[in-house]
Symmetry: C2
Subunit: 674 residues, 2 copies
């Protein structure tokens, strides 16, 4: 068997060669709250049809059409477009009680019953619940006996948290509206429900203002959303049952505003849009009445444009320098008994709060805005630490968590997955726990562009989606990684280009030479974590191309996942074929090493990985001896000593902002076998 492909066969065996084994296993993410399996299978045929019964929902009507299209594409079934009325016999009967308005409290529960002979019923209180159920149903389609089927089951499902968001920063790099729409499709595929649109920053002001057109004209390099696009996007997201919450970051992170209106700033006029990344001085002057007049006009306009009940006012990382240096502001603070910058920001927030309230909006902001005296109907967005979430709940604020969900930091899916918003050790009453409404993954865009943002978000954000939807007890990391392979395919079918865009980048990087080899090689590496990449020289700017090797590596090195799965299969079931295949793949790559070395040496963009390749070659020799030792079933105790020894011998191989993941593999083995 060819080693390059055997792995895929064996991994796929789980899905379609050994159906008896998956009888009790659904490859769905987020995993439903309750699943009971039956013995039989419902078969998808060409005459598959759908009936729909409810008060009428444009949202659901369109989703059902799209469901049929996707099911047809998957299975090849020629499914008629017509949707039947409930009274006609249908293979899938959808019944929903009401057409929901999108808000945080909307009921998203649904129930699915699959029977071999009577087909499938999907029932829900709202049309949104039905959308969620349709995504589950598509993930239930498997192959059995050379047919596409759905196993008999009864599923009851509902979200654990009502707020399951994704922040997309469209400022550090502009993300065009078609990419935003695909991100929404991905979110819906994994049952997320809030798109947090980070629209203003030092590096760009990304929304058209008709009241203050200088904002987008001066602040965006021409890269902004027109109001037409915004309206169309909100409608699009609504059709997927996803709220769109805008953020206008105030009073700091304000360079792009102050390029247009320098007179509203506390410090010197900005020289232009910020091209670097970090925390910068330009900040609104909270002592000027003109600032509030301006914000009243602007937020009034935006309140009409964005229909969601929340507006996010940011409020983070105001460094206070321009306030400290402004004599008028210092006088104002003395005159008004404002003791420090935090209190001054509180004063500012209260005035913004009044504006938003007048426009019928609820305010949410980063945890810096938390202060005594602020109205309890605001929501605190905890990012600096989970203790901020606890503090907010203790103070009586509704709160959501992003700390631990910063997907820009290249941490693993496992890390995010294990970050539960609610843990047993939290010193909170039952009532306070109720104030924790969910969380948001944050895709800050210093190091992502329109080409690679989907690859950075998916599939791993599905692990966060599961954390926020499924029961806390659904927390097996290995099983999460196993299902991530399936959810990745599900996401692609839903419209996401995360796989396509990565392959295109690798084609471009490799100049189409040995692309598959470059992909295999990079799948052993992960990008530097945290903010480490920002410490490199030359510093990243908003015009640095993001088309290097590091941009094609995954925060979850795929070969690491696969190797772990192969080893687990051996350790748990005594089945070592997967490991044999992985080893054979590695050997096959090593055998081509000279060609690969020649190729990268000739490629200007790949020269930077020459050293890594050399190191990979030598370290792989050690790893091969480790794998053969594993297969020899040594005594665990000897084994641990051996592993610890290897770990010492294996230095951390790192360059070009990426690192080899062999050490992670050994660390994991020590834990797994220890």
């Amino acid at each position: 068997m060819n080693v390059m492909i055997g792995r895929f066969i064996l991994i796929s065996l789980i899905a379609f060669v050994l159906p008896s084994e998956v009888a009790s296993q659904l490859d769905i993410m987020p995993f439903p709250q309750s699943v009971k399996h039956g013995e039989g299978y419902f078969m998808i045929k060409d005459d598959f049809n759908v009936s729909l019964e409810g008060p009428g929902s444009h949202r659901l009507d369109a989703y059902v059409q799209s469901f049929k299209y996707r099911l047809g594409a998957m299975t090849g079934a020629r499914i008629l477009w017509q949707t039947l009325n409930k009274d006609k016999a249908a293979h899938l009967t959808i019944t929903y009680g009401e057409t929901a308005d999108l808000n945080p409290a909307v009921d998203e529960s649904y129930k699915i019953v699959v029977t071999r002979d009577k087909g499938i019923s999907l029932t829900s209180r709202t049309d949104i619940g039905a959308l969620r159920g349709l995504e589950t149903l598509l993930q239930m389609v498997i192959i059995k006996d050379n047919k596409y089927v759905i196993q008999e089951a009864e599923i009851q499902d509902y979200p654990r948290f009502e707020w399951r968001g994704l922040l997309v920063d469209v400022c550090r790099h502009f993300i065009p509206i078609d990419v935003m729409k695909r991100i929404v499709q991905g979110m819906a595929a994994v049952k997320m429900n809030v798109l947090h649109w980070h629209l203003t920053e030092d590096q760009g002001f990304r929304v058209e203002s008709k009241a203050f057109p200088r904002l987008h004209e001066k602040g965006s390099d021409g890269q902004y959303y027109t109001q037409e696009e915004v309206v169309s996007f909100i409608k699009f997201a609504d059709s997927y049952g996803i709220r769109v919450m805008p953020e206008f970051d105030l009073p700091g992170h304000a360079t792009s505003w102050l390029v247009a209106y320098p007179e509203l700033g506390a410090g010197p006029p900005p020289q232009g849009l910020e091209r670097y990344f970090g925390v910068f001085n330009p900040t609104f002057d909270p002592t000027q009445d003109e600032v509030y007049e301006f914000l009243d006009g602007f937020l009034g306009e935006m309140s009409a444009l964005f229909k969601d009940e929340f507006i996010h006012i940011g409020g983070d990382e105001n460094n206070g320098i321009d306030w400290d240096n402004n004599e008028d502001i210092q006088v104002f603070m003395r005159d008004n008994n404002i003791p420090d910058n935090h209190a001054l920001q509180a004063y500012f927030n209260n005035r913004v709060y009044d504006i938003l309230t007048r426009y019928g909006k609820r305010m949410i902001g980063w945890d810096e805005i938390m202060q005594s005296g602020l109205n309890k109907d605001i929501v605190i967005h905890a990012w600096r630490g989970k203790e901020k979430l606890v503090e907010a709940a203790q103070s009586g604020y509704q709160t959501i968590l992003s700390n631990g969900y910063y997907i820009d930091l290249s941490q693993t899916a496992a890390f995010h997955y294990q970050n539960d918003p609610v843990t047993d050790d939290m010193p909170l009453t039952g009532e306070q726990l109720e104030l924790i409404k969910g969380g948001e993954a944050t895709m800050w865009s210093e190091l992502v562009s329109k080409e690679n943002i989907e690859t950075r978000i998916w599939p791993r954000t599905a692990a966060i989606a599961e954390r926020l939807w499924s029961d806390a007890s659904v927390n097996d990391v290995d099983d999460m990684y196993r299902r991530l392979v399936y959810v990745s395919a599900h996401l692609e079918k839903a419209g996401s280009k995360h796989l396509k865009n990565r392959q295109a980048l690798i084609r471009q990087l490799s100049e189409r030479t040995m692309s598959h080899h470059l992909e295999y090689f990079l799948d052993w590496f992960q990008p530097l974590e945290g903010y480490a990449r920002h410490g490199q020289k030359p510093r990243y700017t908003s015009y640095t191309p993001l088309t290097r090797s590091v941009d094609a590596t995954n925060p979850d090195a795929l070969n690491l996942w696969y190797m772990k799965a192969a080893i687990l299969s051996g350790l748990n079931k005594g089945e070592w074929q997967l490991l044999e295949l992985e080893v054979a793949r590695l050997k096959a790559f090593l055998a081509e090493s000279d060609s690969f070395k020649t190729m990268i040496a000739q490629n200007p963009k790949l020269s930077e990985i020459e050293e890594l390749h050399k190191g990979f070659m030598s370290q792989s020799v050690e790893m091969l001896s480790l794998f053969s030792k594993l297969q020899e079933h040594e005594e665990p105790e000897d084994y641990i000593a051996y592993l610890k020894d290897r770990m010492g011998a294996l230095e951390e191989l790192s360059a070009a902002e990426i690192f080899l993941t062999y050490r992670n593999l050994i660390e994991w083995l020590i834990i797994t076998m220890g």
Copy 2:
């Protein structure tokens, strides 16, 4: 060397290991009118900057930004966003004379001079010419000595024909606006300049009408472009220097109009939108004044919406049945001395002509509209045969060619490439020849959907783009195929998803199992040509999924191209390594045949290729003996006999609407060696 990748290395050698060999060879498509090479190379560095001098052009300002972004992505250079004024020293100096209005006569010429030390100058009469030159420049970037460089050169370029179009049928399958935009990006990358938007058909009415909203409401299943989208699309295409010409097909192909307004039809009201493909009866009644009142209102609205000077009125395939069966129409014809349906359609066309003229539009239609008495300022779109083109020119009409450019028919790029609009044997005067204005590739969409339309258009339509732009003497088929590999990468970098979407389809088809093997296998096959796929059972409908093996095969089987290139390299240069690599790849595939067989047998969508795989296995054994014979350099005469013998023995292997291309390879060899 690994056989799976060696091919890519060797092919790439042409580009970056043997630069001396490419000194006189540019991998550009369409090939410029005049090229002189120098010896040196200009190096792309981080400080690369651009100056722009001209009367001001939003089009070019944006294109230069995009040029810098693309060049940065390709080379990794951190190119500053600022564009300099002409007086500053720049690496690329762009100078243009005027900002053009988009129309057929626009000047698209440009001149590029590249010098090692003084950088690059790009000069043009219009901003559009500069856009065309920037695409050439991006294709000139190569790797030399581990650096991205552009070879010294002087290029003078201009189009042979002013009309280089692509028709996109968005009716049989709806093509969303984001896909349309990517198609425009691809067109610009190969210097095409007319997007012919086929907006109405029996199967769908795809544009919003505010005057007659029932048209899109009843006629589109909700799949239509809003007028906002149309305006935004025209603006987008304009920014690429591409005209958008709408087609409203009249009086036949009219089911979707008559679903909304049955009283305007000549026959019985349609039962609903047409779901099948072909020629159908519903046709406007040309004898009713109400029809012209309606068309006046509708075409008036569309004349304001679409700013191009042309409106295409279709006019094709009116079968006349509903006219023959309508007693009132028969009376009208007798009363007005209209002898036959062709004359009746002429009467209709003249009245439509009057309407369009009143709205300041020029009329163009399919060649059926040609008739004596029609005004000479209309343009005839020849599709039924090249003789229609000749007839039109002889009759004094301007004319464009689509016959031979029907890219929906799965003919090879070579076929289209060899189809010149002007040939020596045409019985035309010099003045008549001047009436031939160019041509259009036609992407009819019976068998393409939003997922695979780009894969069906690119890269092969680049061969048509070259036919219409470059000199007639640029006609070497092998060299065209060689360059198609590069232009495919260029198209991807310009935004097209033709490669990405095909790979996604193969991932889905294979359920991610042995995807690379499935890709290799399918690359030996081509789809059935012409209308053969429409003869299959069950008949194709607008809801048939286009996700079968045939949808992932290319009209130019890639392995056929590669094998031909490998054999040519041996025959012409005595270098047989490429052939060795291709043979090794084939053997490697054959060695995995059992695994592959098992995989496809378990996959419901791949069962239909089981027989093909079996046949491929056995025929490949014969082909392997052929390849080894080739490498042994037999005498050509013996060889031809052997080839003819093989050809007889190799039956045409065809199933699942695709056929194996081994016979083409042998036919080609007989011609090449004969």
